[in-house]
């Protein structure tokens, strides 16, 4: 099982630095991330990092609301149409997700999907013919 760190964040100047300062001090590298916000004036930062458990502990100790959430990372070729093909397969598996983001590397791209609230996501994706990146590779995307 792979995990991302999700952090509660008020939409205010200087607040995201409170998170990155903790990560910096702990020597944690961010591989990819996304940031959203709501009309309520707050949002959530989702971080895919090289050491999620350490990041979670350090953030919590610093009094920041953080959570570890289950994800799957789906690799694809870095070329036009890849994501389209990938999404068709996810749809074919009957999976509806609400949080996802991506990253591209040398010739390969990755699609990160938050599956915390989707039981059996991995089984369903695998049976739909999707390749899921093994945990040890997730934290060393290159």
């Amino acid at each position: 099982m792979a995990y991302q760190v999700s952090v509660f964040l008020e939409n205010k100047i200087g607040h995201m630095e409170r998170i990155t300062a903790v990560l910096k001090a702990a020597g944690i590298n961010i591989l990819t991330m996304n940031l959203n916000h709501t009309t309520g004036g707050w949002g959530i930062v989702n971080l895919l990092v090289d050491q999620p458990e350490l990041a979670y502990r350090q953030l919590s100790d610093a009094g920041i609301s953080a959570a570890l959430r289950r994800i799957v990372v789906l690799p694809m070729e870095d070329k036009p149409g890849s994501l389209d093909g990938l999404l068709r397969k996810i749809a074919g598996a009957g999976i509806n997700f609400t949080t996802a983001y991506g990253r591209s590397g040398r010739g390969t791209a990755w699609f990160v999907v938050d599956t915390e609230d989707i039981p059996d996501a991995e089984t369903m994706l695998k049976s739909a013919g999707l390749e899921i990146l093994p945990d040890e590779t997730v934290y060393t995307l290159d």
């Binding site: 959203n36 707050w42 959530i44 953080a66 959570a67 609400t98 915390e116």
Partner: protein, 432 residues
């Protein structure tokens, strides 16, 4: 000129004598209630009657907490069969404040309300649209009975739905309106949005504003918007509701109806009377209420007696507009709100941390209440849906409690100033 000429212009000395007579009758009524029966009966040192109005100073004060502690029937002097109506404060936490009326009380209140409206210039030829909430809130039925007693055509429009209010005003040629001041500013905006001008496109000739503290500047703005005079109305649910004090044509203070209420202004710290002209806490005794009399009730409202006679000829003294409170209650959109009510709701929700902050703001001329709520770190699961649901839940629970829809802002734990002792939880930044 007057609704009841003789009573309204009663010479000072006769007015005081009337007060003494009515106070002694009220004391006799009060003794029949469990609360005052106990208070005045056991401690035999309280006099059965007084010889002059100063005599009231030998009696103890009554406070809101006692009304709550002796909920619901502790202050009732009559069998329930005699009671025809109750009005009660909002709230689901703790005991509300409830006031009961028999037929005499309702008639007396309606008459005071009619007298108030007449004093502000309303006549039986007017079409009067009452734009406040009906139901348990006293501003609805209180005005309704007064308008009917006076004989004007009443439109019991209730609160909200500005487009419908404007349609009613235009369909029936409304000439007078009662509303809370912040709503009239909103209503004016809707007039403009509809490309209408209330000064040209209605038959309005006067406004009554109340149930919400406001400044002279706010009144001036409203008068400029609508092109008519706005008369200040004062009341509180413990003293029936509206119809306690009202402005006359001179708009220089509110005549408080002294045949129905005995008025004291006291220093809130020493509880000693202050001279006319000085600000202090308004303390009131009902003089014409049978079912639920209140003796020396501390209203927590700060005002003063305006010295001198009013050119209108009424001898009932005038109070100034309310300048503040001696407790932490605040009024938003006509609703009385205690911070403890909000705290009560928040602290029942396990996901909410210990700190919160209430900010009263004016956003595009609308008063709103923003509540910053800390979420507990351990409850955070990292998903938007959970926080969204929490926010909605808090919004609904607080709305049900205080009858005003708040804006809930979830904030990071530790980002609010820590509550130490009597922390100031309410920041009032409203434009006045």
């Amino acid at each position: 000129m007057y609704w009841e000429k003789e009573l309204e212009t009663l010479p000072e000395k006769e007015l005081r004598q009337l007060q003494v007579n009515r106070l002694n009758i009220t004391l006799a009524h009060a003794r029949r209630s469990p609360f005052y029966g106990e208070l005045f009966g056991r401690n035999g040192n309280h006099p059965e009657s007084v010889n002059d109005v100063k005599g009231i100073e030998s009696l103890p004060f009554t406070v809101k907490q006692q009304l709550r502690d002796h909920f619901p029937y502790g202050f009732l002097t009559l069998p329930q069969k005699e009671i025809i109506r109750l009005h009660s404060s909002s709230g689901t936490t703790g005991n509300p404040t409830v006031i009961f009326h028999n037929r005499h009380d309702i008639d007396s209140w309606a008459n005071l309300m009619a007298r108030s409206l007449f004093c502000a210039g309303v006549r039986d030829t007017d079409v009067f649209q009452n734009i406040v909430g009906y139901g348990l809130f006293t501003g609805g039925l209180g005005f309704q009975y007064g308008i009917e007693k006076l004989g004007a055509l009443s439109i019991p429009a209730g609160a909200g739905n500005s487009l419908r209010q404007i349609k009613l005003m235009r369909d029936y040629g409304t000439t007078a309106i009662h509303a809370i001041p912040s709503y009239l500013t909103r209503l004016y905006d809707v007039f403009r949005e509809e490309h209408l001008n209330p000064q040209k496109d209605t038959r309005l000739r006067l406004l009554c504003i109340g149930a919400e503290p406001h400044t002279e500047e706010q009144r001036q703005r409203i008068q400029e918007m609508f092109g008519v005079k706005a008369y200040n109305s004062f009341g509180l649910s413990e003293m029936n509701g509206p119809g306690v004090a009202f402005e006359c044509e001179y708009q220089n203070g509110l005549h408080i109806w002294e045949d129905a209420f005995l008025v004291e202004i006291v220093n809130p710290d020493t509880l000693q009377p202050v001279p006319d002209g000085e600000f202090g806490e308004l303390v009131m005794t009902t003089l014409d209420r049978q079912a639920n009399p209140l003796i020396r009730y501390r209203t927590r409202d700060i005002t003063r007696i305006i010295p001198g006679a009013c050119p209108c000829g009424r001898t009932h003294r005038r109070i100034d507009r309310i300048t503040g409170r001696t407790d932490d209650m605040f009024i938003l959109k006509g609703c009385n709100i205690f911070p403890m009510q909000i705290e009560g709701v928040l602290m029942k929700i396990p996901e909410v941390g210990t700190d919160y902050r209430i900010t009263l703001e004016t956003v595009s001329d609308q008063d709103t209440m923003v509540i910053d709520v800390e979420i507990k770190k351990d409850c955070f699961r990292g998903d938007l849906a959970f926080l969204d649901k929490l926010q909605k839940r808090l919004t609904h629970l607080i709305r049900d409690e205080v009858l005003v829809t708040p804006v809930i802002r979830l904030v990071e734990p530790g980002s609010l100033p820590k509550a130490e002792g009597k922390a100031v939880r309410v920041y009032d930044t409203r434009k006045r």
